[in-house]
């Protein structure tokens, strides 16, 4: 199994599981906070390429991490974003604060 948390310099890459709901979001938040207590993290990349389901708990997780990293432009990135997740990020207004990269097969030419 691929590592869920990967540190690349000061960037933390989180491989988000298939379902990002309330219990999973709580767990990722705790793990991310533990890591942040041990090492300096400047950017968090949420890799959504495996993710099929998300709800507002996932939005809360991203918002919380954005605040914890000092609300800097580009400090939170979301990659491999499907159309359903993209819709949630736009509805919640998060697209104004974080960098979103759509999943490759869905990117417009």
């Amino acid at each position: 199994m691929k590592e869920m948390f990967k540190l690349e310099g000061t960037t933390l890459v989180i491989l988000v599981p298939e379902e990002l709901d309330h219990p999973v979001s709580d767990w990722i938040r705790k793990e991310a906070e533990k890591l942040a207590g041990r090492t300096y993290i400047r950017t968090i990349v949420f890799d959504f390429s495996q993710t099929q389901f998300m709800d507002s708990s996932g939005v809360g997780l991203l918002m919380g991490r954005y605040r914890s990293l000092g609300m800097r432009k580009g400090c939170i990135q979301a990659t491999g974003v499907s159309s359903h997740i993209d819709r949630l990020l736009h509805l919640s207004g998060l697209h104004r604060y974080i960098e979103i990269h759509r999943a490759e097969e869905e990117e417009k030419p």
Partner: protein
């Protein structure tokens, strides 16, 4: 001709692990109406929001029962999710986007907004000290 109708009731403990159970059960019941993948994704998110609300807000993380009733009349799916918890003091306020009573817990305050975005109708019935029922409705396969 006989009306195409079906009904089910699921009662479960207010454990976060049961959020997945509730939305998969709802999705599975809905497949009888031949939905699109997008309609299934919408329904799962809406159910997840309502059940999370029961757990975090209605019961404030105490373990009690949540009831989920699903039924359809022809292509219209109805979902009623009930807790017998604290109730909502100001429903209108609770439904405002970004409004949350628990910002410290990384709650986004988007729960009701998502339910309203993904279902055709959302109605909240609540009484302080008695509990809350969220009624949702969605026409499938339009």
């Amino acid at each position: 001709m006989k009306e195409n109708t079906n009904e089910m009731l699921l009662v479960f403990d207010s454990l976060p692990a049961n959020e997945g159970l509730a939305r998969i059960t709802a999705a599975s019941f809905c497949t009888q109406l031949n939905p699109t993948l997008e309609e299934i994704a919408d329904l799962k998110t809406a159910v997840s929001e309502a059940v999370t609300n029961c757990i975090i807000h209605g019961y404030e993380n105490q373990i009690k029962k949540i009831e989920m009733k699903l039924y359809y009349r022809e292509q219209v799916l109805y979902v009623d999710i009930t807790d017998h918890g604290v109730g909502i003091m100001d429903v209108q306020k609770a439904m405002e986007p970004m409004y949350t009573t628990k910002p410290d817990k990384d709650r986004s305050g988007m729960g009701f907004t998502f339910m309203e975005a993904f279902m055709d109708e959302v109605e909240v019935e609540s009484e302080t000290g008695k509990g809350t029922t969220v009624h949702m409705k969605k026409t499938i396969g339009r």
